[in-house]
C-alpha cells in the first residue's frame, strides 16, 4: 500500500510540475496575472508531493519493505538504521528522487524569499524550475521507479554498496546535489532573462547569493568525495581524474567562473551575455554529472543496452535542455547584452581572463571524460584517457589564474587604476614567492614541485594578505571587510592553502608497499612502522581482519593504528585504512592481502604512507566553501528594494541605458 501511495504522489507531483512549468510562463508571455499567480501554489504543491514520496521511500527502508525492489536491492535486515536512510540515495532510482526533492527545497526557498522580484520575471523563473522538475519526475516514473514492486517478496534484501557504508559517505551525495541543483536557480534566472528579453542588474544581484551557496555546497561535496577516496578506497590518493570525479569537477569549474562573472554583471552591467552563457553551462554540466554518475553510462556502455529507455531519455533530456537554452541564447542574447566598457587592464578583464581559463579547463576535462564514450560509440576501440592528460593541461591552464589572482582585488573597475600600487604589489608578491622558494629549497632540497608549491602559495597568500592590510589601513572600522569581500579573500587564500597541500604532498610523500611478518619494522621517512600482526573482529554487518601497526619516532610511540580488511554479508570485501592525522603530515596504513591465504597470523602485504601537508588540500577546499557561504551572507544581497528593482517594469531598457552611460 505504502509504495503505491508513493507512486501516486509522484504522479501528482509530475502533473503539478507541468502546471508549474507551463502556465506561469504562458501567463508571463500573455500578460495574464492569474496564470502568473499560479507559480507559487503549483510549486508548493509539487514540493509537498515530492516530499511525501521521498518520506514514503525512507519509510519503506526503515520498515524493511523488501516487496519494493529498490529496498530489497539496497538494504538488508542487518543494515543499521542510519545506513538504511542513506540507502535511499545509495543507487540510481533513489538518487533521482533525492535530486528532485532538493530541487524543491531550493524552489520553495526561492519563492519564500522572492518578494522583491517583479511578477512576470518570478513567474518565468519558477516556471523554468517546474519544467526541470517535470523532466526529472517523468524520468523517474517512466524509467527509474523506486517504488517498483518485487514479487514474490524476498525474506532478506541485498546490501548497500559497502563503499557507501561510511559516515562521511552518507552526506556526500546530498551535499553534491545541493550544489548541482543550486545552479538551477542561476540557470532559471538566465532563461527567464532570455525569455523576457531583459536582465536587470538588480536581478543578478538577487541571484548571486544562490550561486555562491550552490558553489559552496559543491566545493564541500567534492572535498568530502576526495577525502573519502583517500580514506576509504585504500589507495591513499586524493584525486584520480576518474570520470565520476570529473563529473562533479566540471560544474565546479564553470561555477567558479560564474561566481565571478555574476559579480561583474551585477556591479557593472558588463559581461551580461557571458554570465547567461555560464549559467546555462554550469547547470547543463550539473545535469550531465548527475546522469553520468548515476545512470551507468560511464561505468559501462552496456547500461544503455540493459535499459535503452533510460539512455534515450537522458540523451533527449540533455538535448532539450542544452540545445533549447543555447538556441534561446542565440536568439535573445544580443537583446540583453550591454554594460559599461572596460579597459584592457581592469578588474573586468582580469575576471574575464580567469573565466576563460576556468571555462577552457572545464572543456578540457569534458573532452577527456567523454572521449572514451565517443570512441566506443564510433567503434574506434576501447580507449581510456590517462590522468597525465588532465594533470598536464589543468596545470597549464591554471597557471595564469594563479599568477593573476593577487592582482584582481587591487585592480579598479573599468581601468587599471593606480599603476604604482600594482607595481608595488607585484614587487612584494614576487619577493614573497622567491623567499618561499628559497626556504622550500633549503628545507626539502631540490624538489621542483615542492619549491613551486611553496612559491605559488606565497605569491597567492601574500597577495591576498596585502589586500587585507590595505583595507585595514584605509577603511574605517566596521566597513573594512563586508561579508562579500571577506568571502572573496577567504576563497583566494584557500587557493594558496590548496597549492601547498597539492604540491608538497605530491612531491614529499613517502609511499611503500611492503611484505611484513608480525614483528617486522619498516622505516618510512623519519618514522618506524612496526607490524604487530592481525586478529579477527566483527561489526553489525561485517567481519574483518584487523591489523595492528605501531608507529615510532625516536624510540617514542607516535600512533597505534588499526587498518581493517572487511568482508560484508554478501561477500563484498572492503579495505578500511587507518590514518593518523596531523597538520604537517598524515600517517596512513592499509592492509593488502595475506601472503598465504591459509595463514592470517603470518605475513601480510601492507601499504605504508607518510603524506606531508595532505590535509591542506581539503583545508583549501573548505576555505573556498566558506568563501562561497560568507559572501552569500552579505547584507547588500538582502536589501529589500534596490534602486534598479524599483524602476517601473516598462522602463528597464531605459535603466540599462542610463547605467551604461554612467
Amino acid at each position: 500500500m505504502i509504495p503505491e501511495l508513493g507512486q501516486l504522489a509522484l504522479v501528482l507531483a509530475l502533473l503539478l510540475a507541468l502546471a508549474q512549468g507551463v502556465l506561469p510562463i504562458l501567463g508571463a508571455w500573455r500578460g495574464n496575472r492569474a496564470l502568473m499567480a499560479l507559480a507559487r501554489p503549483a510549486a508548493a504543491g509539487q514540493a509537498v508531493f515530492v516530499g511525501t514520496a521521498f518520506m514514503l521511500l525512507v519509510w519503506a527502508f526503515l520498515q524493511f519493505d523488501f516487496s519494493v525492489r529498490y529496498v530489497a536491492d539496497n538494504s538488508n535486515l542487518a543494515l543499521p538504521w542510519y545506513y538504511r536512510i542513506a540507502a535511499v540515495w545509495g543507487a540510481h532510482e533513489g538518487s533521482m528522487l533525492l535530486w528532485v526533492a532538493i530541487l524543491d527545497v531550493w524552489t520553495v526557498a526561492l519563492i519564500a524569499l522572492s518578494r522583491s522580484l517583479p511578477e512576470p520575471f518570478l513567474a518565468r523563473v519558477v516556471g523554468v524550475l517546474g519544467l526541470i522538475a517535470a523532466g526529472f519526475l517523468a524520468f523517474i516514473l517512466f524509467t527509474s521507479n523506486p517504488f517498483e514492486r518485487l514479487l514474490p517478496m524476498p525474506a532478506d534484501g541485498g546490501d548497500l554498496n559497502p563503499v557507501l557504508q561510511d559516515p562521511g559517505m552518507t552526506f556526500h551525495p546530498p551535499v553534491i546535489y545541493m550544489g548541482y541543483v543550486g545552479f538551477s536557480v542561476a540557470f532559471a534566472f538566465a532563461i527567464a532573462g532570455l525569455l523576457g528579453g531583459e536582465l536587470e542588474q538588480a536581478w543578478v544581484r538577487w541571484s548571486r547569493p544562490w550561486t555562491n551557496v550552490a558553489w559552496g555546497f559543491l566545493s564541500a561535496g567534492i572535498v568530502a568525495g576526495s577525502w573519502w577516496a583517500y580514506a576509504e578506497l585504500g589507495w591513499g590518493g586524493w584525486w584520480f581524474w576518474d570520470p565520476v570525479e570529473n563529473a562533479s569537477f566540471m560544474p565546479w569549474l564553470v561555477g567558479a567562473a560564474l561566481v565571478h562573472a555574476q559579480a561583474v554583471t551585477e556591479k557593472r552591467g558588463s559581461l551580461r551575455a557571458w554570465t547567461i552563457l555560464l549559467s546555462i553551462f554550469a547547470f547543463s554540466l550539473s545535469l550531465l554529472g548527475t546522469f553520468l554518475v548515476r545512470s551507468g553510462v560511464l561505468t559501462s556502455v552496456h547500461a544503455f543496452a540493459s535499459d535503452p529507455r533510460r539512455g534515450l531519455f537522458i540523451l533527449c533530456f540533455l538535448a532539450v535542455v542544452v540545445g533549447g537554452s543555447l538556441l534561446l541564447y542565440a536568439l535573445r542574447a544580443p537583446k540583453v547584452a550591454g554594460g559599461k566598457p572596460f579597459g584592457a587592464v581592469s578588474r573586468e578583464s582580469a575576471v574575464l581572463v580567469g573565466n576563460l581559463m576556468l571555462a577552457v579547463a572545464a572543456a578540457m576535462v569534458l573532452l577527456g571524460t567523454l572521449f572514451p564514450l565517443v570512441g566506443d560509440a564510433l567503434d574506434l576501440g576501447k580507449v581510456s584517457v590517462g590522468p597525465p592528460y588532465f594533470g598536464f593541461l589543468f596545470t597549464l591552464l591554471m597557471l595564469p589564474v594563479v599568477v593573476l589572482l593577487p592582482f584582481g582585488p587591487f585592480l579598479r573597475w573599468g581601468g587599471a587604476g593606480d599603476t604604482g600600487l600594482l607595481r608595488s604589489v607585484l614587487l612584494r608578491v614576487a619577493v614573497a614567492a622567491v623567499a618561499g622558494a628559497v626556504v622550500a629549497a633549503f628545507l626539502v632540497g631540490g624538489q621542483p614541485k615542492a619549491i613551486a608549491g611553496t612559491a605559488g602559495a606565497a605569491w597567492v597568500g601574500v597577495g591576498t594578505l596585502l589586500y587585507v592590510y590595505k583595507r585595514w589601513r584605509e577603511m574605517p572600522r566596521g566597513r573594512r571587510y563586508p561579508a562579500e569581500m571577506a568571502g572573496m579573500l577567504l576563497a583566494h587564500f584557500g587557493v594558496g592553502v590548496f597549492l601547498v597541500g597539492v604540491l608538497l604532498s605530491e612531491s614529499l610523500s613517502v609511499t611503500r608497499d611492503v611484505r611484513m611478518a608480525p614483528g617486522d619494522e619498516q622505516a618510512i621517512g623519519a618514522y618506524r612502522f612496526r607490524f604487530d600482526g592481525v586478529h579477527a573482529t566483527r561489526g553489525p554487518n561485517w567481519h574483518a581482519e584487523q591489523g595492528t601497526v605501531t608507529v615510532l619516532k625516536d624510540g617514542r610511540t607516535v600512533a597505534v593504528m588499526h587498518p581493517q580488511k572487511r568482508t560484508y554479508l554478501r561477500g563484498q570485501v572492503q579495505t578500511e585504512s587507518a590514518i593518523d592525522p596531523g597538520v604537517t603530515r598524515d600517517l596512513y596504513v592499509a592492509l593488502g592481502e595475506p601472503m598465504d591465504a591459509g595463514n592470517l597470523e603470518g605475513a601480510w602485504a601492507l601499504r605504508l604512507y607518510e603524506k606531508p601537508f595532505v590535509r591542506w588540500i581539503w583545508a583549501g577546499g573548505l576555505l573556498m566553501m566558506l568563501g562561497g557561504f560568507a559572501s552569500a551572507a552579505d547584507r547588500r544581497f538582502r536589501a529589500r528594494r534596490t534602486a534598479g528593482a524599483a524602476q517601473p517594469e516598462a522602463a528597464p531598457a531605459a535603466a540599462i541605458a542610463r547605467e551604461s552611460r554612467a
Binding site: 561505468t299 572521449f371 576501447k382 592528460y389 593541461l393 597549464l396 592481502e593
Partner: protein, 156 residues
C-alpha cells in the same frame, strides 16, 4: 584599415592563435595518454604490437595466481576465450582480485609476458557474469573487450 578595425583584427587573430595552441596541446596530451584495451588473444595475434603501453583485459585463470615467497611479486594468467597471457605484477592487488575475476591491467609487454604497473578488478559483482559473457562474445568476433566498471572507478 581604420584603427578600430585593425584592433579588432588583431584581437581575432590573437584569439585564433590561442585557440590553435590550446587545441594543439589538447590533442598532443590526448594522444600521449590514450590507452587501448586488448584481450590476450588480440595481443597474441599482434594487434597490440603498435602500442608501447596498453591495457590488458580478461579473466584471471583459476589456480594461476602465484606469489613470490619473499617479495610482493605475483604472477597470474589472464585469459579470454581463445588466448592466455602471463602477467607479472609487484605490489598490492585490489580487494576483488581473485580466481575467475575479470581484471584490467595497465602495462607493457616484456618478451612473452605482460608487466603490469597497475591492476584493477571489476567492482560490481552482480554485474559480472553478463560483462564476462560480452567480453567472451566480443573476443570471439575479434573485437576489443568492454572496459566496464573498474574497481577504482566506482565512486558514487
Amino acid at each position: 584599415m581604420n584603427p578600430a578595425r585593425k584592433r579588432r583584427l588583431i584581437l581575432v587573430l590573437l584569439v585564433l592563435a590561442a585557440a590553435a595552441v590550446a587545441i594543439g596541446l589538447a590533442v598532443f596530451a590526448l594522444q600521449r595518454n590514450m590507452n587501448y584495451l586488448f584481450t590476450p588473444s588480440q595481443v597474441q595475434s599482434g594487434e597490440a604490437s603498435a602500442y608501447q603501453t596498453f591495457r590488458l583485459g580478461g579473466m584471471v585463470k583459476a589456480g594461476s595466481i602465484q606469489r613470490s615467497p619473499d617479495s610482493l611479486k605475483v604472477t597470474f594468467t589472464v585469459v579470454d576465450a581463445n588466448g592466455a597471457m602471463p602477467v607479472e605484477y609487484t605490489g598490492i592487488l585490489p580487494d576483488l582480485f581473485r580466481d575467475n575475476q575479470s581484471v584490467i591491467a595497465t602495462g607493457h609487454m616484456d618478451n612473452a609476458h605482460f608487466v603490469a604497473t597497475e591492476v584493477l578488478a571489476k567492482h560490481d559483482e552482480t554485474y559480472m557474469p553478463k560483462e564476462l559473457k560480452e567480453a567472451m562474445a566480443k573476443a570471439h568476433q575479434g573485437k576489443q573487450v568492454g572496459g566496464g566498471d573498474a574497481e577504482r572507478g566506482t565512486r558514487e
